[in-house]
């Protein structure tokens, strides 16, 4: 027995061992293993795909939120501006109304005063006329010298003054 001898039986046996091992390995080992590897590859691909989709969605949401926020800010700005304008208008109206009221009252007060004064003057006139009549009557009753006349006139005027 020598290790360098070439025996046909051992050659065939060696080849058959390889071939049989290959067949058994293909059937029972490589087949499930390759299937598992393929499945893993698909899973990873799917996960990457899912992650991409999720990221895209998140980006979409973020941009939407951004635009909503922007919109809300603008709305708030508009609202504030509008409220301010309305407030100013309201204030102006109030002030105008107050001014109108004031000027009306002033006018009516002036008219009242005018009327009162007119009335007073009227009264004074009629009063003075009466006194004049009275004084004239008295003067006509007496013959007065100039000195007396002056004194009477003073009296009359004094009366008139007291009357007023």
């Amino acid at each position: 027995m020598s290790s360098t001898s070439l025996t046909l039986g051992n050659m065939i046996a060696g080849v058959l061992q390889w071939v049989i091992l290959l067949i058994l390995m293909r059937l029972y080992v490589y087949k499930p293993l390759l299937a598992a590897m393929q499945k893993r590859r698909e899973n990873i691909g799917k996960q990457i795909h899912d992650a991409d989709a999720l990221r895209e969605e998140a980006e979409k949401f973020a941009s939407e939120r951004e635009s909503l926020l922007k919109q809300a800010r603008e709305d708030a700005k508009t609202l504030i501006a509008q409220a301010r304008r309305e407030g100013e208008e309201e204030a102006k109206k109030i002030v105008e109304a107050a001014q109108r009221e004031a000027s009306y009252r002033q006018r009516t007060a002036l008219e009242e005063i005018q009327r009162e004064r007119d009335n007073a003057l009227q009264t004074i006139r009629s009063e003075v006329a009466g006194l004049v009549m009275h004084a004239t009557g008295k003067l006509l009753e007496r013959n007065l010298d100039a000195k007396d006349q002056e004194r009477y006139l003073d009296e009359v005027l004094q009366d008139a003054g007291q009357l007023q």
């Binding site: 020598s2 360098t4 070439l6 051992n10 050659m11 046996a13 060696g14 061992q17 091992l21």
Partner: protein, 231 residues
């Protein structure tokens, strides 16, 4: 060197069978709880080997040949690794021999494999170049008619060098290891056995791996060259 049609040597047959069963057991262990999630243990190991071979073969071989050639090469590699290492195990012998021999330490198995690989090389040449292109490649290149001599030499050197490289390396590993154990059993002998024997054992383990890989990669390379050769 003797060629015999009738003789049969049992030790390389047993150890070849043992190597086959070890590889098969490893393979079955790898797919026992096969998972498409994160693999571990034997599955992880086998997947790494498979992926390494896939990359290796895809670099060289035609696309449609690659998947089958990958499995062919991986199986051959695993079988040869175990077969090369079997002879290094300090197991009790069969039929009075002290060591279990590697089947690859006998010329027959590497030679048988090399002949099959030679046929595979020719087959891939016919398949990918067509019979006409294949015959032209054999008889008309690099020069008409006489090119056959060059090609025959080149083609025959491939399997012969394959077989003898593997056989020689593994036989040498076993012989030197056996020589260390045959030293006289005194203290000096033991020191040599432990120091030299251990060193040589580690060296032989590495050689076992490398030779299995060389044998397999050369098979893939020869087949790929023959398949892609556009002379």
């Amino acid at each position: 060197m003797v060629f015999s049609l009738t003789q049969f040597e049992w030790p390389p047959f047993y150890t070849g069978l043992l190597a086959m069963l070890v590889v098969l057991a490893f393979g079955l262990a790898a797919v026992r709880n096969v998972t498409s999630a994160v693999p571990s243990g034997a599955q992880n190991l086998l997947e790494s080997a498979l992926e390494t071979f896939q990359e290796l073969v895809e670099q060289m071989a035609p696309k449609e040949l690659a998947p089958n050639l990958t499995l062919l090469a991986l199986t051959l590699f695993l079988l040869l690794v175990v077969a090369n290492i079997v002879g290094l195990l300090p197991l009790p012998g069969i039929g009075g021999t002290r060591w279990i021999h590697s089947p690859t330490a006998f010329l027959s198995m590497p030679a048988g494999l090399a002949i099959v690989i030679f046929l595979l090389i020719q087959w891939s040449g016919i398949k990918y170049k067509g019979l006409g292109g294949f015959l032209v490649g054999w008889f008309w290149r690099p020069i008409p008619v006489f090119g056959f001599i060059v090609n025959a030499l080149e083609q025959l050197v491939m399997p012969v060098s394959l077989a003898f490289r593997l056989f020689g390396n593994i036989l040498a590993g076993e012989l030197v290891l056996r020589m260390t154990t045959n030293l006289p059993h005194d203290w000096a002998g033991w020191i040599v056995v432990v120091v030299v024997g251990t060193a040589w054992l580690i060296f032989s383990l590495v050689i076992s791996l490398i030779q299995a890989l060389i044998f397999t990669i050369l098979m893939v390379a020869y087949m790929s060259i023959q398949a892609s050769n556009e002379h």
